[in-house]
Structure formats: structure tokens, C-alpha cells
């Protein structure tokens, strides 16, 4: 039985570093944190987009007239986006200390502009455009992921498409 105590681990790594130079001739793979797999990067970007869409809905609801039929409708759609986010996050398991969302350059709202920072009222038309963009963006990513994740993306895209319809599209 092998037991690796915390003190033994550096030793084991040191032993590995002494092996054939033919095998270990390249750059040290432990010199920097490994890059996430492409599928992880895709999932992080989709999570970031979903978070952005949720922020957009919250801005629309907060800036709206309150307990109206429209507010109830938007809250219902928001709840479904929060369910999307739960499912997407459940499929992303990262080592402790690593963030769960995309890098800044991968971020972006589905509507093409950041919902952060602006105090302008978020209109239903803007939500509709964001939903449409989200559905299209998810379909564009289908080829980048394994089948089960592709099916989740496709299902969320279909949900977004129904939201477009509810929002008058």
C-alpha cells in the first residue's frame, strides 16, 4: 500500500524529475497551473453569459413598476434562467481556488453589451434581443462539447427561444 503524506509528496515529485531526459525534455508541466480544457472554457463562457442575462433581468425588474403582470412574467423567466445557471454550474468542477466563470475577455452579455454599470432602464425589447442572442450563442457552441453537455445547451437554447416568444418576439 502506498501512503503519501504531505511531506512525502515533494519527494515523489523530485524522483519523477530525475527520470529520462528523453521523456522530460520539454517544458516542466508543473511550472505553471495547467490550462483548462477547451470544454471547460466553453462552459465557463456559457455560465458567464447566463449570469449576465440574469443581471439584465434583475435590472429590468428592479427598474420596472413593481407588482404588475409584466413583473410577474419577468420574474417567471428569471427563475428559469436561475435554474439554467444551477445546471450549468453543477457541470463545472474546478480545483479549489480557481474561479467558476470565464476570463474577462470571454465575458459578455448575450445582448452584446454589458448590463453592468448602466442605470438606463432595461426594456423588454432589450431582454428579447438578449434571449435571442443567447439561444443563437448556445447553438454555436454545440460542436465544442460532449453530447450530454450539448443537449443541455440545446435545451437551454430552446427555453430561451420560448422566452423570446413570451417577450413578444
Amino acid at each position: 500500500m502506498l501512503l503519501a503524506s504531505a511531506a512525502a509528496v515533494p519527494v515523489l515529485l523530485g524522483a519523477a524529475a530525475c527520470r529520462s531526459e528523453d521523456v522530460f525534455a520539454g517544458p516542466d508541466p508543473l511550472a505553471s497551473p495547467p490550462r483548462p480544457a477547451p470544454e471547460v472554457i466553453t462552459l465557463q463562457a456559457v455560465i458567464a453569459a447566463e449570469e449576465s442575462l440574469i443581471r439584465l433581468y434583475k435590472m429590468a425588474i428592479d427598474g420596472g413598476p413593481g407588482a404588475t403582470a409584466e413583473a410577474r412574467r419577468l420574474n417567471s423567466l428569471l427563475a428559469q434562467h436561475e435554474q439554467h445557471l444551477v445546471q450549468l454550474r453543477a457541470r463545472l468542477i474546478l480545483p479549489p481556488g480557481q474561479g467558476g466563470t470565464a476570463s474577462p475577455q470571454d465575458r459578455g452579455s448575450p445582448g452584446g453589451s454589458s448590463p453592468k454599470g448602466g442605470s438606463a432602464r432595461v426594456t423588454v425589447a432589450r431582454l428579447r434581443a438578449a434571449e435571442r442572442a443567447s439561444a443563437a450563442g448556445l447553438v454555436r457552441r454545440l460542436a465544442d462539447v460532449e453530447p450530454a453537455l450539448a443537449q443541455l445547451f440545446a435545451s437551454i437554447a430552446a427555453s430561451d427561444a420560448t422566452h423570446v416568444m413570451v417577450l413578444g418576439g
Binding site: L77, Q87, V139, L142, S155, A157, M165
Partner: protein, 152 residues
């Protein structure tokens, strides 16, 4: 579990379209006015989708599965409300079938399935009067959620 092949996924979608065509015929008889017009419009769409799927299956060298002469309805249909419920049920079945196509490796078929299921999900929402968070997915396919991170 047997792997999902393009032909088996397309055949499942074709079978779902055939069921929808039959079911819309039943539902339409209990509808009137603009709702009946919508059912007729959707019936035509399903017929066109059936023909397109049959052509795709033939192109792949397989024989398209034949429609059944009769389909068992999931519940009695005797008025407009039950007819609309049947239409939603049929569209859910079509959505699940197209979601199966998304599992194949061919990216063109994945796109095809994903776009087709958007149409059926929209029609289901029309008949049901509400949207779903995960059209086409069964509860068993969804993972238990982890606690969400603090709001940023």
C-alpha cells in the same frame, strides 16, 4: 446502452413527427377559430418536417420508419382544453426526439436538432400557456444543483 447513431436519432424524430401528425388530426377536431387555424398550421409544419426527415434518412442509406395506422392517445380528448393539452404533449415528444439528434457527433445534425427543438418548444409553450426551463430533458438528466456562489 447502444450508441446513438444519426440514423437512429433521425428515425426517432420521424416517429415523433408521425405521432404529432396523427395527434393534431385528433386535436384539431375539437378546436375552433384561430386556435384551430394554429393547429392546422402546425399540422402542415409537422408534415413538412416528416418529409424532410424521411429524405435525410434515405440519403443515409436507411429506410424511413413507417407511420403507424393508429396511436394510443395519452388521455381522452373530448374538448378544446384536452385538445390543447394533447397538442402540448405531442410537441414535448417532438422536442425530446430532436434533443436526441443533438447527441450525435455530426455538428450539422446537432445544429439541425437544436433548431428544430426550438420550434417544437415554442409550440408547446403556445399550447400550454407557459414556458419550461429545460424543454426536452427528463428530470433524471438534470443534476442536483450545488449551492450557488455569493452574489457578485
Amino acid at each position: 446502452m447502444a450508441p446513438i447513431t444519426p440514423v437512429s436519432a433521425l428515425q426517432a424524430a420521424l416517429a415523433a413527427e408521425d405521432a404529432a401528425i396523427f395527434g393534431y388530426g385528433v386535436a384539431g377536431a375539437h378546436l375552433a377559430g384561430s386556435i384551430q387555424s394554429a393547429a392546422e398550421h402546425y399540422w402542415t409544419g409537422h408534415s413538412e418536417a416528416r418529409d424532410a426527415l424521411a429524405a435525410m434518412i434515405s440519403k443515409l442509406g436507411a429506410v424511413p420508419v413507417a407511420a403507424r395506422a393508429f396511436y394510443q392517445l395519452p388521455f381522452p380528448v373530448h374538448d378544446a382544453a384536452s385538445a390543447m393539452a394533447l397538442a402540448a404533449y405531442l410537441e414535448d415528444g417532438v422536442t425530446r426526439a430532436y434533443l436526441g439528434i443533438v447527441a450525435v457527433s455530426d455538428p450539422r445534425l446537432r445544429d439541425f436538432g437544436a433548431l428544430a427543438m426550438q420550434g417544437s418548444a415554442e409550440r408547446a409553450a403556445f399550447w400550454r400557456g407557459s414556458t419550461q426551463a429545460f424543454p426536452g430533458m427528463t428530470a433524471s438528466a438534470l443534476l442536483p444543483g450545488r449551492p450557488s456562489s455569493p452574489p457578485s
